[in-house]
């Protein structure tokens, strides 16, 4: 009975996910399918950062650097830049591996840092990577500097390119649809790995380190390796997402990897619910969709109400974004969909207070 229920639910979910790009296309148009694709890339990024911030409790403000490393790895070996055109089943794992290496590179010197200090160092790391990408065009031109790398090969398997349109059984399937399915597959894989990690020995070790590092090592946890593993795993997800981004976009430049992007991804994690996979996915969807919605709505609404556009929609967008963040932090400090642990921690409600009173007063029993 339970198994049946489980299967039905997942079957319905699977059908919904498969039909989603066509539903969006029919209702809102092509552009929104593209936005959905980006949402999936951001969800992957947010889930990677969730490992570092949500599970292990290490505040990383330079996370976008791993996205950049993945994207540039793909761009350098699959574009006219060096005349290399490696297939994606080599470039994607390569990007993930190099990003993983950078994760360890960032993790190793920061092992003893916590909180604010770690945040500052990681922020610096993110900026260093971006500035390197910006300036590695002289004396030897590697990254093509601020112009970025263009004409990047599309994602393709054999002769099947995700960048083309196909006709199947009288139905037109475009590049945005195809990328959706590819990204969805990767996202589901990342979700699956995240869930498995959460329930594993490694997951418990991360929680212990997050709670109290000295006690964690007194439990026999190798805190050094476990922290490095968190950085490495998070960076790997970031690298994969970056590779997919480069192939999808066909163009990368250092601009795409600014501090603002790191903060955006962090917001997805915090807003959705640190440490909870579902919450992080929700955070990713909301933070990609809402600004776009707003961008489209702000102009017409002003036009209708005031007869002219008073405030530029672009600047209003950031204003609303900030307001939304403040409201969520006030009313749902643990995030929109928190993990059970976070919920408990923020639930300073009567039941916990009562528990505390009881224990204080009857301690002598």
């Amino acid at each position: 009975m339970r198994l049946n229920h489980f299967l039905t639910r997942h079957f319905v979910l699977a059908i919904a996910l498969l039909a989603l790009p066509f539903i969006i296309d029919a209702l809102f148009g092509h552009g929104w399918v593209r936005i959905t694709d980006f949402a999936l890339l951001y969800i992957m990024l947010a889930l990677g950062l969730n490992i570092v911030v949500g599970y292990a409790g290490l505040l990383d403000l330079g996370y976008i650097a791993f996205f950049a490393v993945g994207a540039y790895t793909y761009a350098l070996v699959s574009s006219p830049q060096f005349g290399l055109h490696w297939p994606m089943w080599i470039t994607l794992p390569l990007g993930a591996l190099i990003a993983c290496g950078f994760g360890v590179l960032l993790g190793a010197p920061t092992l003893k840092l916590r909180g604010d200090y770690l945040a500052i160092v990681t922020l610096g790391f993110g900026e260093i990577i971006r500035i390197f990408l910006n300036n590695l065009n002289a004396p030897v031109n590697i990254t093509n500097g601020p112009q970025g790398i263009s004409a990047i090969d599309p994602l393709q398997i054999g002769s099947f390119s995700f960048g083309n349109s196909y006709q199947w059984m009288g139905m037109r399937v475009d590049d945005v649809h195809l990328h959706y399915y590819l990204f969805l597959g990767f996202t589901l894989l990342v979700i699956f790995i995240s869930r498995r990690l959460e329930d594993s020995r490694i997951g418990r070790a991360w929680v212990a380190i997050r709670e109290d590092e000295v006690a964690a090592s007194a439990m026999g946890i190798n805190t050094r390796n476990i922290k490095l593993l968190a950085f490495a795993m998070g960076a790997t997800f970031g690298g994969i997402s970056g590779g997919l981004f480069a192939g999808f976009q066909g163009f990368v430049s250092p601009e795409s990897f600014s501090l603002m992007e790191s903060i955006m991804v962090l917001c997805m994690v915090v807003l959705g619910g640190m440490g909870n996979v579902g919450g992080v996915v929700l955070g990713g969807v909301i933070l990609v969709a809402l600004p776009e919605l707003f961008r489209n709505a702000a102009g017409p609404v002003q036009q209708a109400l005031l007869g002219k556009v008073v405030v530029d929609p672009e600047s209003l967008r950031m204003l609303m974004f900030g307001l939304a963040l403040i409201l969520v932090m006030l009313w749902r400090p643990a995030g929109l969909w928190p993990s059970t642990q976070r919920r408990r921690e923020f639930a300073a409600d009567d039941s916990v207070l009562q528990q505390e009173q009881e224990t204080v007063y009857d301690a002598s029993k």
Binding site: R204, A208, D212, V214, S217, M219, G220, Q341, E345, T359
Partner: protein, 239 residues
């Protein structure tokens, strides 16, 4: 010299930057003994325990544990070798439940059925914790948190249990209960190194004691002798 030595510390020195916190201490503990290290605030008691647990790196000295040199092992491998530390201020995982805390103590073990049996044993030893197993450890009283910390340390089946000021910040009644638990644990055959400021209680529970003063051991001997000695009486017992 004690027979059947479990832990042998020779001339252990620890410095924080330029300040020498331990100026070369030596002590030994036999298997099954309850030994206490007493001393006032800042004498170096916690430093000594942290160095033994591998959380601090001594500048010089030797530590032999079960005939092996201990200093070569990092902290997490010392736990595997049976050395458990209940850190100062308890160091419980406040946002996990009591049971999750205890299970974290068994992190290095893989024998699920044995872990479950040990969990039941801890609840037997600390019935209060059985009542509070689903409660967040951070919401327990200080004494109960101390019990969580001790039970959690026992979950790794230690040979040597090191307790850092278990009586700190507890109500007098709770201190009694904690010391009763310490005696129970010792009765099960676990070797205990107990660091305390409460000299009287510690010496009453222990078989032997060491007195630590500004980084050096000034007195040592049978606990009953130390309890009666003028120096200890004057310095710690206030008579």
């Amino acid at each position: 010299m004690v027979e059947n030595t479990l832990l042998e510390v020779e001339n252990l020195k620890v410095s924080y930057g330029g300040i020498q916190a331990l100026k070369g201490i030596s002590l030994s503990i036999a298997a099954g003994e309850l030994v206490t290290l007493i001393g006032s605030n800042g004498a170096g008691k916690t430093t000594a325990l942290k160095a033994l647990a591998g959380l601090l790196h001594p500048t010089s000295g030797h530590v032999h544990y079960q005939q092996k040199s201990l200093l070569q092992f990092p902290a997490h491998q010392r736990v595997v070798n049976g050395i458990a530390l209940v850190p100062e201020g308890r160091g419980i995982f406040a946002r996990l439940t009591v049971e999750e805390n205890l299970l974290m103590g068994a992190y290095i073990r893989h024998d699920k059925t044995e872990i479950a049996a040990d969990l039941a044993r801890q609840y037997e030893l600390f019935p209060r914790l059985a009542e509070r197993r689903a409660q967040l450890a951070g919401t327990l009283s200080g004494g109960e948190q101390q019990m969580v910390a001790m039970a959690r340390a026992l979950m790794c089946r230690p040979t040597l249990l090191m307790l850092d000021e278990p009586s700190m910040g507890l109500a007098p009644l709770m201190v009694e209960k904690v010391f009763e638990s310490i005696r129970n644990i010792a009765a099960q055959g676990v070797t205990i190194l107990l660091v305390e400021q409460n000299a009287k209680l510690a010496l009453e529970a222990a078989q032997r004691g060491y007195v630590l003063e500004s980084g050096a051991i000034t007195l040592s001997g049978a606990a009953s002798e130390l309890l009666g000695s003028d120096a200890v009486q004057r310095a710690y017992l206030g008579t």
